[in-house]
Amino acid sequence: MRRYYAPGLALLLVVGAGAFSEISWRSVRPSIPEIGRKELEPTLGQGVLLGILGGLRTVVADLTWIRSYVLWERKDRPGCEALMRTACALDPHSRYFWENTGYAIGFDMAHWEIRRRGGYAKVPAETQQRIFQQYARRGIDVLNEGIGHSKAPAPLLLCAAQLAETKLKDHALSVRYYQEAAESHDAPWFAARICAIIMWEDGRKAEAYRWFRKYWTERMLPKEDGFPDDLGQLRGMEAGLGLKPEERIPRPSWER
Amino acid sequence: MSSAISVRRLTKDFQIGIRGLKLRAVDDLSLEIPRGQVYGLLGPNGCGKSTTLKVVLGLVSATAGEISILGHPSATAEARSRTGFLPEAPYFHKFLSGRELVTYCARLSGVRPSELAAAVEDALGLAAMTDAADRPIGTYSKGMLQRIGFAQAVVHDPELVILDEPTAGVDPVGSAAIGRMIHAMRDKGKTVVLCSHLLGQVEQVCDRVAIMDRGKLVLEGRVEDVLARRDRHVMTIEALTPAAREAAEAALAAHGARVTSVTHPRRSLEDLFRELVTGSRDA
């Protein structure tokens, strides 16, 4: 019986270490979002394994991105999309990959698909529209995923907003993305104005004015020059809505 | 007092291949090696003598049988701390100097730090390696490797020293030096077990011998007893003329004795070699 003590203890130690690693893995798993992504599965044989195994993820992601350019030139949609998504999966913190993948899928690939089917002259307008919408939705899906990983998501939100506006023709969705972009910490100055203009043109005039005025007052007015062009836009809206003078934005000292 | 090594009914089988065929290397061997003697374990290659030594040292497990060293079960730390071992064709880390190797082995053998320097110097002196002690082992000749191997085996002043083919590949001068070391150990009251197939050397240095063949013990006893032919005598005569020889043969015949051969005595080639190259060291 005693001869089994040592092997028994060895088994206990190995199983114990394995059980403990389950606890540590639960704690540390959220810190490694790069692994376990479905996008990597089809490309495991293309040198990507090295990136999954351990270090060099950024380098492998870069090389994958360079290879995707070659396929982009050839307009090889499945290959290019797979490699671009692989690069995103290998380095999900890179905004550049998400942004360009979203643009490429949402804008370029729809054109490739129409060309593959015989060109704009051959493909009926309805089908073209369906293709544009189909790829725009896919592009937005990619961008949504990237937004979840990015610390500075404004460019991704703007890209999604553009796709929603120009390809899906879904202005409500576009406005939501523009609003989110405008309210993010890295918001570009033009996001709020574009958002307000789309809402205005979509018929949501009072809502557009209210939102843009609040935004301008809170985030633009305190800045150095107070963004006079945006104030000009707001004045135009006030005129369009026929607001009384007391309902309008009080005139700042610097306004011409 | 217990024997230096006591082997009782030792059997060692090696498993060959995945089918588990067994090769019996040592077959029911019993041996008592007394203390304070130089004991030769002889036999042709593959007869099981090295395996026996490995089992004694606990490097290989026995299939059956019992072994004790100086009264302790073999393979225990107590038994091994009182044993020194020089393996066949020793190889040591080339980047260490001779002194570093002996120090390393002394520490592994349990020599106290306070006694370390003296123990290392004694062992190097005994092996005549003091002069070359600070050279890297990679620069040593084969004879020097054997001598530094001897030094590491005796640095902790063991009661039992086991030497496996200590002179294999060593020239006669080096071989004689090792012979002197063995005698020095015996003079200090140590037990030396010498495993070799160089019969001339064993005959010169051993008090007792055991001969193994195919894993079995075929002969064991004192060297004189084993080698002596009690029914034959040798006389060495100077200035023997034909007439004197005839007279001597006649006188012997009168007593029922018969001269079976008359030859000139020869010195051994080893003696001649050592005489000619005396003073040279195997540097």
Partner: protein, 277 residues
Amino acid sequence: MTPSLQRTLWISRVTFLEAVRQRFFAFLMVLGAAMVLSSVSFRVFDFGHGELKFIADFGFGGMFLFGSVLSVVMTAQLFFSEIDNKTALTLLAKPLSRSEFLLGKFFGAWAVLGVFVVVLSGLLGVVMWAREQELVAMAEQAGKVPVTFSASGMVQFALLQWLRLGVVIAIVLTISALARTFLFAVVVGSLAVVAGQLQWIAQDAVLKPTGSILYGAFLWLSTRLLPNLQQFNIGDALVLGATGVPAEAVAEVALSGLAYMVAYLFVGTLVFRRREI
């Protein structure tokens, strides 16, 4: 210090000396260092990750790749050089137990990998610090928020890498204790490293409910027997703070590494005790 510990340390010392004198070690060390240094010139290939991330990734990659190769090949070589050259005969005939011998080999090899990790992570830290200074100055001029790296995160990452390599050494020693040839030990050791890096797949799966008892048992067994080496690869989060890692999580990973080492070394000792030299 107990005699047993002293003997173990002497074996470690000689193992360490033997390893650092090997050309293989020097070669991989130089290659790793060159990789870290060259990351600065390769940053033209960078696609907006941030230069520091790119440099860090090169360094982490070098440590992972060359560290893994070194810990597998060098450990097997250090073990088999003793067996094949029969120096193990000389050593194990002394009052030195097999566990002391194996632990001595482990600590010697682990110390060498410690030097490797310290040199590479130190070099990486210097390269990143130098570039960080330039980037901070440029960002301040442009009125942007500079990207920085965490030196304490780098130290934690280096420690975790050292632990990971320690687990690999313990596994390779266990395999070597069982193996008859150096080549077998290297091949199986390398496969074990790859399996360990991919073990998280089973670990992730085991956390989700499964309908099949057999599949569940297989997952459970593979997560218990194979080490999860991927949990040590949290360099991005530690050094660049991409997602952040709680201190307790780092401590848990470190303890997990130590638990693996103890477990595999215990198994290795048991196997080595039965080995005929």
